[in-house]
Structure formats: structure tokens, C-alpha cells
């Protein structure tokens, strides 16, 4: 079992839970898409795995080890987590090359250099712009850099928060192609929060739909793709009964 979230209640302000008893299991080497309307707690779910929000109840385990009390910076290497937030996902004043080096800050010098070279070879667009400031990149380049930075430590688990937000249709297509390729190449589990349901589920094994801090639907990706309620939920609706084709949250 890769990532286990057990009945967590979490939020930013005491007494105002954003996640209300969420339980999710993300299997090894799978791609899981988390869908849901704005404010449903999708980003908070990723932040609670990384340790950026307070968890008041429940626990998070990565590869069987509890990480709930582990500080965020320790989770990266000790528990092999890579995280790409939705906004501010690069170090703007630093160059592309420096962003990658920062991603490998905890690696040895030789490992860091080798991995930086490897990723720059894999993403030639980043290599072309390796001396440019990250805040001068286009949206697609920036997203590519953010993901490459997170891959520096060869994480076994990659958490992506709305990676397609603000990208052009061509860049979105390229991005989802990149996710499938990363899973194969890096042998990594990917938990991706998305608004772009169709394209994300198309490359995923499983999908979850969150509504007001709870998992409303949980099922395999093809089933969810065909589920009428997925699109209804996207418009802010709430499922009225236990899903027939998909199961309730784990």
C-alpha cells in the first residue's frame, strides 16, 4: 500500500475543518485523480499528506509508516514524497537550473548534478532555458519545471495540485502525456488534483470525487468517466445516493 489516509479531519483554522473524516488509499504505482468543485478540500488533501495543514483527527501513512507528526521537509526524502502546489510552484527569482538544484538540496553533490543533467536531457525545453529566471517561463514551461523539480529526489509518490490550471489546450495535452510517461519511467505513484476531469481520468487508474470535505465518489477511472454524476458534481451538485457504478470513499 502506498499512501493511506485514514479518517482525517484537517483544516487551517481551529474548529473549521476542511476535510471531514476523509479516508483514501492510493495503491503503489497507480495514477489517481481527485476531482471536485472549488472548496471541496482537494488541495487540502494533498497539503495534509505533505504536512502543510493541521490534522486534528486520523492519520496519514506512507508505505506503511505514519507521517502525521513528521515535519514537511523531512517527508520529501524520508518518505519519498514529491509535491507540486497549484500556485507559486517554482522559485521565481532562481534560474531553471537552480530550481532543479534546490529540488535536490538533500542529495549529495554528485547525485544532484547527475540528476539535474538527466532531467534537463529529458526536458530539452528546460535545458534551453536553464539560465533563465523561473518567473520568466511560460505557463507550460513553468509546470514542466515544477514537476521536474519535484522529481529530483526520485520520489516514489508524486502529489500534483491542478497542474493543468491556466495552461493552453496544447500544453494540457502535453502535460497529461507527460504524467503517463513519468509513471512508466520513474515507477512512481501519482495523486493528482484536477479540474480537467476527462483528460486526467483518461490517464488515471482511479478517481475520487470530493464534495464539501468528504469523498463522495471513489471508483476506477473508466467507470467514473462514464458516470453522469461526475459532471453534475463539477457543477456543484451533490450525489443523492450511494453510487451504483462507483463505490463510496474508502
Amino acid at each position: 500500500m502506498s499512501i493511506q489516509i485514514r479518517d482525517i479531519e484537517a483544516g487551517y483554522v481551529a474548529g473549521v475543518p476542511i476535510l471531514k473524516g476523509v479516508g483514501v488509499t492510493v495503491e503503489d504505482r497507480s495514477i489517481v485523480t481527485v476531482l471536485g468543485p472549488n472548496g471541496s478540500g482537494k488541495s487540502t488533501l494533498l497539503k495534509s499528506i505533505m504536512g502543510f495543514v493541521s490534522i486534528w483527527r486520523g492519520e496519514v501513512a506512507v508505505d506503511g509508516e505514519l507521517v502525521t507528526r513528521v515535519p514537511p521537509h523531512e517527508r520529501t526524502l524520508a518518505h519519498s514524497l514529491g509535491y507540486v502546489p497549484q500556485l507559486d510552484n517554482v522559485f521565481g527569482p532562481l534560474s531553471v537550473h537552480e530550481n532543479l538544484e534546490i529540488g535536490g538540496a538533500r542529495l549529495s553533490r554528485s547525485e544532484r548534478r547527475a540528476r539535474t543533467r538527466e532531467l534537463l536531457r529529458l526536458y530539452p525545453r528546460l535545458e534551453e532555458r536553464s539560465r533563465a529566471r523561473a518567473d520568466s517561463l511560460s505557463g507550460g514551461e513553468r509546470q514542466m519545471l515544477a514537476i521536474a523539480r519535484a522529481l529530483m529526489t526520485r520520489p516514489r509518490h508524486l502529489l500534483l495540485d491542478e497542474p493543468s490550471a491556466g495552461l493552453s489546450p496544447a500544453a494540457v495535452e502535453q502535460l497529461f502525456g507527460m504524467l503517463a510517461e513519468i509513471r512508466e519511467r520513474e515507477d512512481v505513484t501519482i495523486l493528482v488534483v484536477e479540474q480537467n476531469a476527462a483528460q486526467s481520468l483518461a490517464v488515471s487508474d482511479r478517481g475520487l470525487v470530493m464534495v464539501t470535505g468528504e469523498v463522495a465518489l471513489d471508483g476506477d477511472a473508466p467507470t467514473l468517466l462514464d458516470d453522469q454524476r461526475v459532471s453534475e458534481l463539477y457543477l456543484g451538485g451533490v450525489p443523492d445516493a450511494t453510487p451504483a457504478t462507483a463505490s463510496r470513499g474508502a
Binding site: E74, G82, G92, L94, A105, R106, D135
Partner: protein, 297 residues
Amino acid sequence: MGQVIVDSLVRGSELALLAVGLTLVFGVLRFANIAQVEFATLGAYGMVLVASVAGVGILLQALIAIVAVGLLAVAVYRVVFVRLLRSSAAMAMIGSLALSILVRAVIQTVTGPDPKELDLPLERGVDIGGALVTPTQLRLVAISAVALAVLIAVLRLTPLGRSIRAVSANPELAAAAGINRKRITDVTWFIAGALGALAGVLLAMDTQVSLDMGFGLLLPVFAAALLGGLGSVGGAVAAAYLLALVENLVLKINFGSLVGGDGFVPVDYRAAVGFVMLVVVLLYRPQGLFGREARRA
């Protein structure tokens, strides 16, 4: 003009060391530490204290004072500012003003109100292109330049420096990249304290040691950090020298034709130059002369 340039280099060197400390701490914590200038006072008095209790050479006196103030800065951050920052940056800034007053009160209680002088040999000034400059001032400019160059090299070229810049740019993302923000913040406070103490030591060698030597620099130091774009080390250095140059030019200009009689600006009003400059620049470039406007994806 030569004298203006020399005076500006000396003044700019003092301001730059303090402004860089201020901007570094602001970068990682988003809080402007008013007590930054007191690190200069502590550095100067620390050197006097070391000289009085230990028979060591002046270099060692300076080094001990600088390291001690750097460590004190880390302790003050952990004991005082960690708690205040949990409340808000504004609370921490007010707390830093209180700390600034407290530092001077404690020093006055321990050493008395009278200025002190370091026991240094008198040196004859030298003429450089028509400008009179003392060897101490030459050393001040050179040491400051070397310290700032080393700092910028560390920030640009080393993993530690990149980590400081990363935390400054985006603390949460830095943590996600495995950087220990607490450790980086401690290191940043040490650097800020040590740079402030170095400024105090150099000032003490050039002039004298007094209770208000740091507080007197508060306005120009803040002006330099803001003009440079808070958080920008290179900007703070450039702005410090630019501010010093403008201050010295204004002091040399006779405004008599405008106001009648002797129209020189009194030297006591020198700090006002920075303030006027700051207001004018911020009206047109709120991000400072060398700062970049925030851009988001």
C-alpha cells in the same frame, strides 16, 4: 567631487552591511527588524568589552564580537521573534522596536552614557585624487566590499545560499523540496547579526562607540533596504551606495540662491535625504529601484 565619492563609499559601506542584514531577514520571514541597527551598536560595544577583558589583538577582538553578536541574533530570534511572529509580522516589528530600546538601555546601564573609543594608533590621512581619506576608512570600504562580495558569492554559488534564496522566494515550496526552514532562518539571523556587528566594528574604528550609533542609521538603512527592493541583497547594496552618494551630494550643494544666505543642508539632516528619496521612489516604483514586480503564473 573626489571627496564626495570617498565619503559616499565610506557611508555606503556602513549602510550596505546593515541594509543587507535587514533585507535577508525580511526575505525569509517577511518582517522588517528595526533592531537590526542595534547589532551594530552591540558589535562596537562587544569589541570594547573584549578589549577590556582579554589581551588579544584588534582582529581577534573584532572577530569575537562579530561571532558573539551573530549568535546573540539567533538566540533573540528563537526566544523573542518566533513567538511574536506567531501573532503577526506587525507585532514582531513593534517588538523589534522595543528590543532596540532595551538594547540601548542595557548597554547604558552597564557601560554608562559616555562614548567610548577603541585604542587604535593615530594614522595620517592620505590624499587620493584630491580627496582626504584615512587608512581606517580605506580598510572600512575594502572589508565591507569583501564581506558583501563573499556573501553574494555564497548566496549565488553554494547550496546553503540557494537554500536561503529558496526559502526567501517561497518558504512552503522550499519545505516541500526538503529544506529545513528553521535551520535556514537561524543561519540567516546569524548572518544578519554578524553583518550588523561588522558594520558597528568598522564604524567604531572610524569614529567612536556611542549608544545611538546604530539607531542613528535606522532611517537610511531602512531607506536603502526599501529602495533596493526588500528581499533583494544586490538591490540593498546598490541602493546603500546610491543613497550615500545622494546624501553627500546634497550636503555639498549650496541652496543659498534658492533660500538666501548660506544654503547648505546641515549634516544632521542627512537622514532626511534618504527619506525624501524613499518617498519619491516608492511613489513611482513601489517594489523599489531594483526589485521586480511580483508575477504569478
